[in-house]
């Protein structure tokens, strides 16, 4: 996919390219979250490097989504403090929730949810540039829509999009704000297998181009191995496994050198998730 002439790498990453900073893009220290006395995250320490694609695996209820919400500043905590004022209605905050620890995240964070979450009363382009200001927002939106394969669909209502198309639009909405951290919350969970594979290829292309730090929450081991440089397993609110599939494994062949083979990794991850093969 040829980059749009008007959008060089500079316009997307800004004056301070993400890759140029030495420190981690994300830095969690002792991140703890409990809901009504139940500890969901139990002192998570985690560094994510800029441009790194990390997959986070775990059972449902293991705290994956809580971790992602904390990274996306969606849980009402700002610097460990509760702040109920953000976000208009502010009803997302759970009563009885407590939290501690620090989460240093970049300024520009985008989230793609499992549901595309497009506003049904705004056309596709307006959905993509939602919250963006500036005279060239529309043009940027068009460019990113073309990149996700939705050129010509700018004036459509979201209701006429298929599930895969809606998720592409959601991806465009996330990328259009040039995120330093891209959070993906089981974004392909509701798609059929073929659409999911096409979305994997698209996501790989887009990540190679935009180079955000990515955290993909998923329960699909194969998806994690196919996409990620690094795979984490969350068990009982702690990171129990931190694996790095070597470069060759994404292609399906056994990796040489210091990396483990894909089959071996898969077995290890299945065991970590408590599934007997």
């Amino acid at each position: 996919m040829a980059p749009h002439p008007g959008l060089t790498a500079d316009t997307f990453t800004g004056a301070d390219p993400v890759g140029a900073t030495d420190g981690p893009a994300v830095r969690l220290r002792g991140l703890t979250r409990s809901f009504g006395g139940r500890t969901v995250l139990d002192g998570v320490d985690l560094d994510l490097a800029p441009g790194e694609f990390t997959a986070l695996l775990g059972h449902s209820g293991s705290g994956k989504s809580t971790l992602l919400r904390a990274l996306g500043r969606l849980d009402g905590y700002e610097d460990g403090r509760r702040d109920g004022r953000r976000g208009g209605a502010g009803r997302g905050d759970t009563p009885g929730a407590t939290g501690s620890g620090t989460a240093d995240v970049p300024e520009r964070v985008s989230v793609v949810f499992q549901d595309a979450r497009l506003l049904p009363w705004e056309r596709v382009l307006e959905n993509v540039v939602l919250g963006l200001t500036g005279p060239d927002a529309g043009e940027t939106g068009r460019t990113v829509l073309a990149e996700v394969g939705l050129a010509g669909r700018e004036r459509d209502w979201p209701a006429v999009l298929s599930g895969g198309e809606a998720q592409r639009a959601a991806l465009a909405r996330a990328l259009v704000r040039q995120p330093e951290l891209l959070l993906l919350d089981e974004p392909f969970g509701a798609l059929d297998a073929l659409t999911r594979l096409r979305m994997h290829a698209l996501l790989r292309r887009l990540c190679a181009r935009y180079r955000p730090c990515v955290l993909l929450v998923t329960h699909d081991i194969d998806e994690a191995l196919a996409l990620a440089d690094r795979v984490l397993v969350l068990t009982d609110g702690r990171i129990s496994h931190d694996l790095r599939p070597s470069a060759g494994t994404a292609g399906g062949t056994a990796g040489g050198g210091h990396g483990k083979g894909r089959g071996e990794l898969r077995g290890e991850l299945l065991a970590a998730l408590g599934v007997e093969e």
């Binding site: 996306g72 209605a89 502010g90 009803r91 705004e122 939602l130 919250g131 209701a159 704000r177």
Partner: protein
């Protein structure tokens, strides 16, 4: 189908050439064959019945004037300008009352739907007002505001505020909280949240309320104009009652009916434009 002969109304059967066997059970979902002017059929039938009953002397003109007399009176009143004068007065009252009522209902619903303090302060109060039949306030309103224009506008405003508030508020509180979450992820400002998410999300409820309010505005106006007024369609009808002029009363009824129909059509057109995105959902 044309219904012009007196014998026709005695046969309320559906039109259609005889000989065709009529299917009694139509598969659900199969498109029905449309009868032209189907919705006008009932009212036309009623009109014919009225005409026949008047012509045969079955209906005493003291009880209800014949259609021809009503039409003539309508013409007279329109020619003299009397009808337009009263019509304008009524329209102005309804429009003012509706405008204030709808604006207040919308603002209160937004305040109650988007802030917890607003909800605590407003919702209980409006629910209390709602439980009162609005027309029961007429005696008190007359004592407070006299018999001028204000009292009519205020009564219409109070009556129309309630459905707009209730429906808009219900739509707002029923708005998917995931949209609020989305607003955070794209760093929408509070004003942006209001404009891009809260208002469009509440629009379907608002329009439901608006349509109810338009109906109510005429209802409240009729009553308040008949109780204490010196102008307006309601006044015209009250005067006619004093002189036993059923033709004038029917003219007033027709005007109210047309006004109601017209205003509802306008709101529906407006609604269709504003909620264009919903048409794609079907």
């Amino acid at each position: 189908m044309t219904v012009s002969t007196p014998s026709a109304p005695a046969r309320p059967r559906a039109p259609g050439r005889s000989g065709r066997p009529r299917r009694t059970h139509r598969p659900v979902g199969r498109p029905r064959r449309r009868i032209p002017f189907a919705r006008a059929l009932g009212p036309v039938l009623l009109l014919v019945l009225w005409w026949v009953a008047s012509a045969t002397g079955l209906l005493d003109p003291q009880t209800l004037a014949p259609p021809a007399d009503v039409a003539a009176t309508f013409g007279d009143l329109a020619r003299s300008g009397e009808l337009q004068e009263h019509l304008l007065v009524s329209l102005r009252r309804a429009a003012l009352g509706l405008g204030f009522g709808v604006a207040a209902g919308l603002l209160l619903a937004l305040a109650a739907g988007l802030s917890r303090i607003g909800e605590a302060l407003i919702d209980g109060t409006v629910q209390l007002v709602r439980s009162l039949p609005i027309l029961a306030l007429v005696p008190l309103a007359i004592i407070w505001f006299g018999i001028g224009e204000e009292v009519k506008v205020i009564l219409v405003a109070l009556g129309t505020l309630v459905p707009v508030y209730l429906n808009t508020h219900a739509a707002l509180t029923g708005l998917d909280p995931r949209y609020a979450e989305l607003a955070r992820t794209v760093d929408l400002t509070p004003a942006g949240f209001l404009r891009r998410i809260a208002l469009p999300g509440a629009a379907p409820g608002f329009f439901t309320g608006l349509r109810m309010s338009v109906t109510i505005s005429w209802l409240v106006l009729v009553v308040s104009e008949q109780i204490n007024a010196s102008s307006g369609i309601g006044y015209l009808m009250t005067q006619a009652r004093t002189f036993g002029r059923t033709d004038v009363i029917v003219v007033g009824l027709v005007v109210y009916g047309l006004l109601g129909l017209l205003s509802d059509t306008l709101v529906r057109l407006f609604e269709r434009r504003a909620l264009a995105w919903r048409r794609t959902l079907a």
